[in-house]
């Protein structure tokens, strides 16, 4: 076995995919140069394996599990779209998950957008939980943590209808999340914006603002929450139903005087 062959075999062994050949140990015993190479490569791989990584936040993982299972229950009933097979089939999917057409059009709005995800806010406003929220709002006013606005961006409207059952499901998950935010003392305010087209003033560049993004997403509502930092606000936002439901969230710090 030559040095080159021995080194190739060595790398296979170290990377866990090779089989040790009988002649390999003999070669390393008789070749100081290859022994040195082996030592260096072993050390390097040990260093790579030992690279420290922060463990995932257990609370985030727990909330994520809960949200996923809720999404699984909903989407199982709705029959999620299946793409054609292929190695890069998932590459077509943007980070914002695309649910099945019925789910998407429900979230996308259109004539039935009143039955969209953001109807949740209207429901929250009229629900008993809303009254409890008013108390929380008072208590959060004493909170000195920064306030963050979570702007919910719905995908571009498709004009398709959604069913009352779909509405009920989304309302339920949003309400549950809002209640959790309240009980955590984080919720300051949550409001739904009207589903009408609104009014746009100013130059054409205004279409690039938050309300109407370049991608055609539509600003449908917002939460204002208390959080320690952007990372904290992101962590909270990730525990909510918006991302699994196909919405995007823009997080902005509210500047305090």
């Amino acid at each position: 076995m030559t040095c080159e062959q021995a080194c190739e075999t060595l790398l296979d062994e170290l990377l866990g995919s090779g089989e040790r050949t009988a002649s390999t140990p003999d070669h390393f015993e008789s070749c100081p140069s290859c022994r040195s190479e082996r030592r260096a490569m072993k050390e390097l791989i040990s260093r790579v394996r030992a690279l420290q990584m922060a463990p995932p936040d257990p609370q985030v993982i727990s909330a994520m599990r809960e949200t996923l299972l809720a999404a699984a229950r909903d989407t199982t009933g709705l029959g999620i779209e299946t793409p054609p097979p292929g190695i890069h089939e998932t590459a077509r999917v943007r980070r914002t998950p695309r649910m099945n057409p019925r789910w998407t059009r429900f979230l996308a709005g259109g004539a039935a957008a009143a039955a969209g995800a953001l109807i949740t806010f209207a429901v929250m406003r009229s629900s008993p939980a809303r009254a409890r929220g008013a108390e929380t709002t008072i208590s959060t006013a004493m909170d000195t943590r920064p306030r963050f606005m979570l702007l919910l961006l719905d995908p571009a409207p498709s004009g398709l209808q959604s069913t009352a059952e779909e509405v009920r499901r989304v309302v339920a998950v949003h309400r549950a999340w809002a209640d959790r935010l309240r009980s955590d003392g984080r919720l300051v305010l949550a409001e739904k914006l009207s589903d009408d087209p609104g009014r746009l003033l100013g130059s054409a560049r205004a279409s690039d603002t938050l309300a109407y993004t370049r991608s055609g997403d539509r600003l449908g509502g917002f939460y204002i929450i208390r959080a320690d930092s952007y990372d904290d606000a992101k962590r909270v936002a990730r525990t909510g139903p918006a991302l699994p439901l196909g919405e995007r969230i823009e997080i902005r710090l509210i500047e305090d005087n």
Binding site: E8, L11, D12, L14, L15, G16, S17, A40, M41, L44, I45, R47, V48, R49, L51, Q52, M53, A54, P56, D57, V60, I61, M64, R65, T67, L68, L69, A71, A72, R73, T75, T76, G77, I80, E81, T82, P83, P85, I87, H88, E89, T90, A91, V93, R94, R95, P97, R98, M99, D231, K234, R235, R238, L243, P244
Partner: protein, 190 residues
């Protein structure tokens, strides 16, 4: 591939995935419990950011749901899941790259491609060297080194031949060694 001891009565990943595909939402729970940590670790390594990795774990399992019917058992569930995670990481890197281009951020020759540039410690030096590898080479190397995947499994994950993966892994490891040596020399010179 690490061996996981399970009791005979415990369903395999493939059985659970079959149940998910058949509409049993609760079967997703054990799959998430078994694999979220390794997917989180993979995404952290491939994207270099633990917050992004958390987002990606959710994204990966949402894709499992979305593509549940495309799992046909040709490969193990774990390999299939890694393929989804790898694709999610590629999408994320494209998104970040695209954001940088939109924001007209000029590349900085000193700063590593992923923004990490502290080479003051040994670990940071290694981190910086890794970030200087070509993404496809780094992905293969890290999957071979840290995730215990065989060349064949990595080939299935990244969509290449087994031979190509082997060559890529060897080259990446050699390149990494050379980069680490160079960066450590630079550090010692300062």
């Amino acid at each position: 591939m690490p061996v996981v001891n399970r009791s005979p009565s415990m369903p395999t990943d493939e059985m659970l995935m079959g149940r998910v595909a058949a509409g049993d939402a609760d079967a997703l729970g054990p799959l998430f419990d078994r694999h979220h940590a390794s997917i989180y670790a993979l995404c952290t390594r491939l994207c270099g950011d633990d917050h992004t990795a958390s987002d990606l774990v959710q994204e990966v399992f949402l894709r499992v749901l979305r593509f549940k019917e495309s799992f046909r058992g040709d490969s193990s569930f774990r390999t299939w899941l890694y393929r989804i995670a790898h694709n999610a990481c590629i999408d994320e890197r494209r998104r970040v790259q695209s954001s940088r281009e939109e924001a007209l951020i000029e590349p900085d020759s000193v700063v590593a491609p992923d923004g990490r540039h502290d080479t003051s410690s040994r670990e940071a030096t290694l981190d910086a060297a890794l970030s200087r590898l070509a993404p496809d080479a780094r992905d293969v190397l890290l999957m071979a080194c840290c995730d215990g995947l065989t060349y064949r499994q990595i080939a299935s994950v990244v969509g290449a031949t087994e031979g190509a993966v082997r060559v890529r892994a060897h080259r990446a490891l050699r390149k990494l060694r050379s980069l680490v040596e160079k960066l450590e020399e630079q550090r010692n010179d300062v």
